[in-house]
Amino acid sequence: MSDVAITSLLMVVLFALLGSGVWIGLTLAGVAWIGMQMFSSRPAGDAMAITVWGAASSWTLTALPLFVWMGEILFRTKLSESMFRGLAPWVNRLPGRLLHTNVIGCTIFAAVSGSSAATCATIGKMTLPELARRGYPEDITIGSLAGAGTLGLLIPPSIIMIVYGVTADVSIARLFVAGILPGIVLASLFSGYLAVWATMNRDRVPPPDAAMTLREKLFESRHLIPVVLLIGAVLGSIYSGFATATEAAAVGVAGSLILSGVQRSLNWATFRDSLLGATRLYCMIALILAGAQFLTLAMGYIGLPRHLAEFVTELGLSPFMLILALAVFYIILGCFLDGISMVVLTMGVILPTVQAAHIDLVWFGIFIVIVVEMAQITPPVGFNLFVLQGMTGKEITWIARVTLPFFFLMCGMVLLLWFFPQLATWMPSRM
C-alpha cells in the first residue's frame, strides 16, 4: 500500500474515532494499533506496553506533574488576586488592559518552566478565573493563553531545545541564549495583537480601574512581591546550581506550599483538593501522552514521517523555499504528533539537507522550536488545547478557533526570523 493510501486510511480512522466521542488518548492508541497491525511486520501489543511504560516513567517528564501541582496550589492561594492587583495599574493604560496578563504571566513563567503545557496550565489556573470574574471575554482570554503558553518552549529553559541540541549536535547553552530575543519578540507580537483587538472591540473590554499616581502604582506593586519571590526562588535555584531545570519544579511546589502557608490558605482541605486536582489533571495528560507515544512508535515502524522528510529533501529547493516547505511539513506533522516526536523522527533525514543549504543550525533550532510551538495549538493533537479543554470544559474545536490568530502570529514570526536571522544568531554569537 502506498504512503498516501496509508496516511489517508489512518486519517479517516483518527477523525472517525475522535468525532464519535472516543476519549482522545484511547483514540491515538487505537489509530496506532491499527496502523501497526496492518502496515508493520511487528505485533502491536507488547511494543505498546514497553513504549508507554518507558515514556510514563521517564525522569525527564517529572517536571510536568510537579508544575501542574504547583498551578493547583497557587490557584487556591491569593496569589492570582495579588498578581492582578500588582499588574493592573501598569497595564491599565494599554489597550486591552488585563488581557496582557496572560502574555506577561506566560513570558515570566516560561523562564521557569521548560514545557508549554505546564506553562499554560499554571498561568491559566491563576488568570482565567480572575479575568472571567472581571468580565473579560473568554474567547480572547483563552486564545491568548493557549498562544502565550507555547512561549514555555522558546524562552529558556526548554525541553524541546535540549532534544534538538542533542539530536543536531548543537550547543544547548547557545540554543537557550538564542531563544531569548525571539521569545520576547513573539510575546510582543502577541501583546500587539491584543492591543489591536482591544482597540477594535472597545465595548468588549471592561472599563479601567481608577488612574493612579506613580507612587500609588509602585505601592500597589507590593502585591507582586510573592510572585516575584516564588519566581526568584525557582529561577535562582536553577542559575545558582542549587537544582537542575527539571528539579526546579519541585522547588516551585515547595515554594508554593510555603507561600500558601504564609497567606494562611493552606489547610487540609485545600491541600487535599490541590493534590487530587493535580493528580487528575496530570492523569488526563498522561493518558494522551501514552497514546501519543504509541502513535509515534507506530509511525517509526511504518516510516511515514521519514518518507515525507525524504520527499521534501529530494525536491531540491532554494533555501527560502526549503524553509517554507519545511514549515508546511512541520505544521502538517504537528497536527498529529507532539513536538519531541516530530524532532526525533525527522531530524536524521532533514538535517543533512539543511546543512547542505548552509542554514545555521542554531537558527534552524529556533525555527524548529517555533513550528513545534504551533503544533501545541493545532487540532486534533495539540497539548495546549487539551490542557485548556480540561480546565475550561470548552470544545477543542472552539479553543482551536479562538487560538487561530495566535497561530498566524507564529507563522509571521517564522517569516520575521527568516528576514531578520540576527534575532536568533546575534546573542549566541556574542557568547
Binding site: 464519535s20 466521542g21 511504560w53 510514563a56 517528564l61 506533574p65 522547588v251 492523569c283 470544559g393
Partner: protein, 169 residues
C-alpha cells in the same frame, strides 16, 4: 456492588495522590542530599516510577469525574436514542481499547518478572514492581469503562459535571 466499585476507584486515586507526593519527595531528596553531601542513589528512577503510578492509578477516578477529554461536538447535538447509540459506540470502542491496554500492561509486568528485567540505572530495581502500578491502573480503568458501558446500556449513566470547568467559569 456500586459502593465497592466507587471505593475501588477512590482508593486507587488516593494511591495515585500518594505517588504524586512521592514524585515531589524523590526530587526534593535528590536536591537536599546533594547539598548535604549524602549519597542517596536512584532518586531519579524512583521519581519516574512514582510519576507513572500517579498517572495510571488515577485513570478510573479521572474518568468517573469526567475529566478525561474527548470531542463531544457531535454527541452534544444529538438527543435521545441517537445519542444513546453513539455513546454506546464510543464506550464500546473505549472498553475494547482499555481491554487491550490492560491485557498488555499486565503482560508487561509479568514478562518483566519472567525475563528478570532490571532497571539499568543506579537503583537496579526489578521493573515488574513499579510496572504493577501501571498494570493495576489499567485494569481498574477497564473495570470503570465496563461499569460506564453497563450504566449507559441500562440507561442509568449520569455524567458528572467536571469540577475543573466550574473553577473557571
Amino acid at each position: 456492588m456500586r459502593r465497592a466499585l466507587d471505593f475501588l476507584y477512590d482508593a486507587c486515586a488516593w494511591l495515585a495522590a500518594i505517588a504524586m507526593i512521592g514524585v515531589l519527595a524523590m526530587v526534593l531528596a535528590s536536591i537536599v542530599t546533594r547539598q548535604l553531601g549524602i549519597n542517596f542513589q536512584g532518586t531519579d528512577a524512583y521519581a519516574g516510577y512514582s510519576m507513572a503510578c500517579a498517572g495510571f492509578l488515577a485513570l478510573a477516578h479521572t474518568l468517573k469525574h469526567n475529566e478525561h477529554i474527548r470531542v463531544t461536538l457531535v454527541l452534544g447535538r444529538l438527543q435521545g436514542r441517537a445519542r444513546h447509540a453513539l455513546e454506546m459506540w464510543a464506550l464500546s470502542a473505549a472498553t475494547l481499547l482499555a481491554l487491550l491496554f490492560a491485557f498488555y500492561a499486565v503482560r508487561l509486568a509479568w514478562q518483566s518478572h519472567v525475563i528478570n528485567d532490571i532497571s539499568t540505572g543506579n537503583d537496579a530495581t526489578p521493573l515488574w514492581l513499579p510496572q504493577l502500578g501501571m498494570a493495576l491502573g489499567a485494569v481498574v480503568l477497564l473495570i470503570a469503562f465496563m461499569d460506564e458501558w453497563w450504566l449507559e446500556f441500562t440507561g442509568r449513566r449520569v455524567v458528572k459535571e467536571s469540577e475543573e470547568a466550574l473553577h473557571n467559569e
